[in-house]
Symmetry: C2
């Protein structure tokens, strides 16, 4: 989905505008709550155009899902392939997830919802992309273990410890505003650094 992905910034053609508008709509209201008319309006296209470009609302949604996880997978693999120490790769992994979550604001909310419904809309291709991310992290962990710098650890647990708080933070900007005063401020960098430190502390066995 390179065309759609590249178009997130300033959608030139109607297909890319549909993609971008749909991503925002699905993020804000979920698959069931999303409305094709509203997507059309936001994309400044006629509703029929949506069905010209995509087979159905479901197919459009799945395209967005695939694009999301494909992008994270790619970014994360780049980190794993770079000539870096395992510790740096872990930091890079955290950064990659955060960067992707920020590059695509629809990513965190959609991700949370997919978790909530047990990946109901996740097709085989997307499932592969998700596996890739997990396997990439697993590879970094094994590399660190072979180098004698990481203790053995469950990749799933490490992954959850990284991704969950990140997505939560990125997705709760508006909710935090709603909670208002009494809830202390917090910055993106603080969160990323915090997660990097914790993850490395766990991997290096510095946590009793």
């Amino acid at each position: 989905m390179p065309r759609a992905a590249a178009a997130l910034a300033a959608p030139p053609d109607s297909r890319a505008r549909v993609f971008a508008a749909a991503a925002a709509e699905f993020a804000a209201r979920g698959y069931a709550g999303a409305n094709v008319d509203r997507i059309a309006r936001a994309a400044r296209v006629n509703k029929a155009m949506i069905y010209y470009h995509y087979k159905s609302k479901a197919a459009l949604y799945r395209a967005i899902l695939r694009d999301m996880f494909d992008a994270v997978g790619t970014r994360v693999r780049a980190v794993a392939a770079a000539p870096l120490a395992p510790e740096e790769k872990i930091r890079g992994f955290v950064d990659a997830i955060a960067a992707e979550g920020e590059a695509r604001p629809h990513f965190p909310p959609i991700w949370l919802r997919e978790i909530a419904e047990g990946g109901a809309h996740v097709d085989q291709a997307t499932l592969e992309y998700i596996r890739h991310v997990l396997q990439t992290l697993g590879g970094i962990l094994r590399e660190g273990q072979r180098a004698g710098r990481f203790h053995p650890a469950n990749p799933l647990l490490i992954h959850a410890g990284i991704v969950a708080p990140l997505m939560l933070f990125l997705a709760t900007a508006s909710l935090r505003r709603k909670l208002g005063r009494g809830v202390p401020e917090i910055t993106r960098d603080a969160v990323v650094t915090h997660i990097q430190r914790i993850t490395l502390a766990v991997l290096e066995g510095r946590i009793a």
Copy 2:
């Protein structure tokens, strides 16, 4: 909502059955995806009964939200009020969230979805309950700081570090099955212990 809450196990009256069926439906499909006819069928009541007991689909959903956060708030305050060392209270806090997430299987998915839509359905009462949970954690942190055992920390960050991975773990049981082989197993207790350790390590400044 004590009546509805107590009825989660074996719903005796129709109102409680509606409540329980609706909780499951909203958890599985989200607010927009939930279907009142389906709720009626699952609750073994006539659809009109739902509107007899609750003003609308939205009101029914809000009642479930309130019940959830009220319950966590209560359980968490009990931990904070107990005569325990701050460290034990933190462990208890983690346990309380996990226990509540397990006692109400609809809790984790609904929680994730509410985060995703920025608390769109959260009314004032529910907002209060959520604040209570945050404030309770804040109280435990201050107590530990006064006792010289905890370093200063952002309650929101600590809270996210606890709740996010827990909810994620509890909500991903089915998705983990879908990912299938290649994804290592993981137990509830391992997750809880892991989160307790990490949180305490952070609070005690054992993480560089």
